[in-house]
Amino acid sequence: MSSSPPTIGVLALQGDVREHLVALAEADALARPVRRPEELAEVDGLVLPGGESTTISKLATLFGVMEPLRDRIRNGLPVYGTCAGMIMLADKILDGRDDQDTFGGIDMIVRRNAFGRQNESFETAVEVEGVEGGPVQGVFIRAPWVESTGSGVATLARLDDGTVVAVRQGNLLATSFHPELTGDHRVHRYFVDMVRAAG
């Protein structure tokens, strides 16, 4: 194992930032919140938390994070998005607002709030390829799903009905669900390993 832990940011414009900071620290990364372009420049990897994607998109544009992060993604920055974060990593989204921008990077179409409203939010066991030790508990909250993917995108997890809920393309990872809410940090460890391998 590498001696110095990687520095991984959590985009802290809005959402469940605290839970990701805790999970990353438990997975042996130096975790810190990122709200400004200069803070973005200092991290080896970034988590896009769950939250309200329309709010995060708007604030990212207003406060000058949108273009710098797109640049870093193009240059290979490892990024992991959960729920709203998955939406923000999609090249194309459905059921978003007309003016809703994403950072993009993963060649996929993601449908926002695809499973329905809060009353349809659920949790279930999900087997994730590359994550050892049995299924993780998938917590789906007004969650998006992956409608289709390009040829460079690997599907890492599906529900029993075949719905795609976790994908990876190069250094970019996205899940419809929230491992940060479970206390099980295996998916975060998987991402920390991606960041180490990229560094």
């Binding site: 769950g50 279930t124 809410l181």
Partner: protein, 304 residues
């Protein structure tokens, strides 16, 4: 995560404590805005609100009009649900579990069992565990917050004094909750039993708060936020997000003020950004001096 959560299910399950509390976690760092029409809901969404609270009249108008304040017309709530893509909350009266059942059937994303409406039961709050839809409830102190959580609330907001445009009660209630949590942190195991008795809250929840140093659910602030600086103040005092009621749509330029409060809530610790957000917002809502409010008109006294 919280130690009181039931064990995790293997097959898909809706309405679990984790799914309910987790929904509130997604709202953190955000602003939830009171709206009374689909048009206002769109303005709120455009401004960057993380959710809207659908109600018939904003609290300032409930104060002015008097009479019994009830759950909103289902048509109005559905109109707002159709108008926006962000989560929609709605209010039921305290203890009026049938209003809550109706709101659940309409598909709202959160139910606020709210002191802003006229209480339907002066002894009992609704049993919130029996619903799939999660609940947020108001509290003026830690004991009240924990009693609501014991009844199944998945999110707490400090009450403040809604419809006044005066942040003083919001500050009082949030400070009270934070101070009581800090005091619990210093107690040893022997003292926690007496603390639970004093707080009139279940021992297990008191112990959990003492260990976590925070509530086991998300804590927002409400009741009196009217400016970007008010929102940032509540965040610096420890609120994880803010509800803004009358403060936006009773002001001179709602769209601009709403966007400004969103910015100040995210950059609550950056006075330069708060200053920029505070420029040229037009008239703030007039506001009421809370000292002159008669006891009967203090909504925070409703609920127990």
């Amino acid at each position: 995560m919280s130690t009181t959560l039931p064990s995790t299910p293997e097959s898909p399950e809706t309405g679990t404590a984790r799914v309910k509390r987790g929904m509130a976690e997604q709202l953190k760092g955000g602003v939830i805005m009171d709206v009374v029409t689909p048009e206002q809901a769109k303005i709120a969404e455009d401004a960057g609100a993380v959710a809207v609270m659908a109600l018939e009249r904003v609290p300032a108008d409930i104060r002015k009009d008097g009479g019994v304040a009830r759950m909103s017309d289902p048509d109005m709530i559905e109109g707002i649900i159709d108008a926006v893509s962000i989560p929609v909350m709605a209010k039921s009266r305290i203890g009026h579990f049938v209003e809550a059942q109706v709101l659940q059937s309409l598909g709202v994303d959160y139910i606020d069992e709210s002191e802003v409406l006229t209480p339907a039961d002066e002894v009992n709050h609704s049993d919130k565990w029996s619903f799939t839809t999660p609940f947020v409830c108001g509290a003026t102190n830690l004991g009240e917050a924990l009693r609501r959580i014991a009844e199944g609330a998945a999110m707490i907001r400090s009450k403040g004094e809604a419809g006044t445009g005066n942040v003083v009660e919001a500050v009082r209630h949030l400070r009270q909750i934070k101070n009581e949590i800090a005091r619990l942190r210093g107690y040893d195991n022997h003292e926690l039993y007496a603390a639970a008795k004093e707080l009139r809250a279940p021992y297990e929840l008191v112990k959990e708060v003492a260990e976590l140093g925070k509530l086991p659910v998300v804590l927002f602030s409400a009741g009196g936020v009217a400016t970007p600086a008010d929102a940032a103040l509540m965040r610096q005092l420890g609120a994880e997000g803010v509800f803004v009621g009358s403060g936006i749509f009773k002001s001179g330029d709602p769209a601009k003020r709403a966007a400004a409060i969103v910015k100040a809530t995210t950059f609550y610790d950056d006075p330069k950004i708060i200053a920029d957000a505070s420029r040229n917002l037009g008239e703030a809502m007039v506001g009421i001096n809370c000292d002159t409010l008669p006891e009967a008109e203090r909504y925070a006294n409703r609920g127990w």
